[in-house]
Amino acid sequence: MSEPIKTDVLIIGAGPVGLFAVFELGLLDIKTHLVDILDKVGGQCAELYPEKPIYDIPAIPLITGQGLSEALMQQIKPFNPTFHLGEMVTTIENIGDPLFRITTDRGKVFEAKAVVIAAGGGSFQPKRPPINGIEPYENKSVFYAVRKMETFRDKNLLIVGGGDSALDWTLNLQPIAKRLTLLHRRDDFRGAPDSVNKMRALVAAGAMDLRIGQVTELEGADGQLTAATIKGADGAMTRVETDAMLPFFGLTMKLGPVADWGFELKDELIPVDVSTFETSRPGLFAIGDINTYPGKLKLILSGFHEAALMAQKAHHYVHPSKRLVFQYTTSSTSLQKKLGVS
C-alpha cells in the first residue's frame, strides 16, 4: 500500500457543489483534496452541459456549465485544493474517532478527518453495449478503457465508436496490433478532423480496416473473445475474428461504490441530517444531488447551501479545540486575509 496522503477533508466529486465546499471549508481553515472519476472538474456541468445556459444561480441571470465551473475554480483558488482526477473512490474505512482511510481504484490512499460525498448522480462510467452474453468477456477481452497498451500487442483488435476515444485509441494501438478494425454505425466521424484524416489514410494504405455497422453477437470461451458478428448498414451479417473489443459509447451515471459505503440508501440517495448534512456515519457528509431529506430539491443552489452548513460541523472534527466564530466575508479581515484580498 502506498503512503497515505493526509488531509483535513477529502471531497468526493469535483462538480459545482464539491468545488464550493472547498470555499466554505477553506474559510474555516480546513484543507481539502478532491477526487473525481472524470478527467476534468465541473461534474455534470462539464460532462453533460458545458455549453448550455443555467438560469437559476442566484444573482447570475445566465451562465453556462463551463462558465460556472471556471468561476468556481477562480473563487476557490486562494485555498489551493489538490485535485485527483480520473480516479474513483472505492472504499471509506473508519480508522479513528473520526478518522477515515479512503482508497481509490488507482491504489491511492488518503487519511482524512472528515469526508464529504458530493458525488451528484454517482460516477460517470462507460456505457455498456447491449450485446447478449457480453458479461463474461468484460475486463478479460472486452475493455472500456485502455490502462496498458502492451496488453494489445500483436492482437486482433476491434474498436467500436466514432468519437475521439475510438479514434485516438485506433491511432495509438494500430502500430502495435496484429490487425485493427474500427467499427462505427455510419461513415461519418465526430472526432477531431485530424484524427479522422489519419485514420482514413491508414485504411487507404491497407494498414487497418474500417467497417460500418454494429456488433450483434460475440464468440469465444472462458471470457476470451475469438470473433464478433457485425450487422452492416445494409443488414448483411459478417464475422470478424478478434482477440479483444474496445467499445466507446460515451459515459453514463451509475451510483457505483456509494452503494457499498454502509448507508441505508433511499432511492439510491444518501439520507442526511438537515442541519449538518452529516450521514448516519459521523464525520461523513453528503451534499448536493447525492443526498436526500424532506423537501430536497436537486438544485445547484441547494448544494451550495448544504456545503456552507456542512463546513460548520466538519470544523468540529478537524479543529476540535478551536471555537468557531461566525463571520462575514464583507467585514471580517481574517476571512479577507484567507481570500487574499486584505
Binding site: Y49, G162, R185, Q214, F249, G250, M253, K254
Partner: protein, 107 residues
C-alpha cells in the same frame, strides 16, 4: 392537446397528452415513461432518451440535426428512424405521434 403514444420494448402502450412547444422527452417524463432516462435533462448530450419513430410518422417528425446525429453515435441499436426525444418539439401536426422506446438506454 396533441397525443403521443409510447410503445415500450415489452409492448406496453401509453398514450399521453403533450403540450405544444414541449419536447417528446418532457411529455414522457411528465407521464412516468420510465424507458426514457434523459440523464442530461434535454441538452442533447447523453443519448439516453432514444426513440424509434413509427415509420408512418417519420417523415412528419423529420431527420435529426447534425448535432443530434453525432449524439446518436452514443446510443445503441440506432435505426434510420431513430431520434433523441428531447430534440423533437411537439406541434399540432404531431398529434397522434407513435414512438417506440428501447429496452436499454445505456444505463
Amino acid at each position: 392537446m396533441p397525443k403521443i403514444t409510447f410503445i415500450e420494448h415489452d409492448g406496453a402502450e401509453h398514450t399521453v397528452d403533450a403540450e405544444i412547444g414541449a419536447t417528446v422527452m418532457e411529455a414522457a417524463l411528465r407521464n412516468g415513461i420510465s424507458s426514457i432516462v434523459a440523464e442530461c435533462g434535454g441538452g442533447c448530450t447523453c443519448a439516453t432518451c432514444l426513440v424509434h419513430v413509427d415509420d408512418a410518422w417519420s417523415p412528419a417528425v423529420g431527420p435529426p440535426s447534425a448535432e443530434e446525429e453525432e449524439m446518436l453515435d452514443s446510443a445503441f441499436e440506432v435505426k434510420p428512424t431513430s431520434r433523441l426525444s428531447c430534440q423533437i418539439k411537439v406541434t399540432e401536426a404531431l398529434d397522434g405521434l407513435i414512438v417506440r422506446t428501447p429496452s436499454y438506454q445505456g444505463r
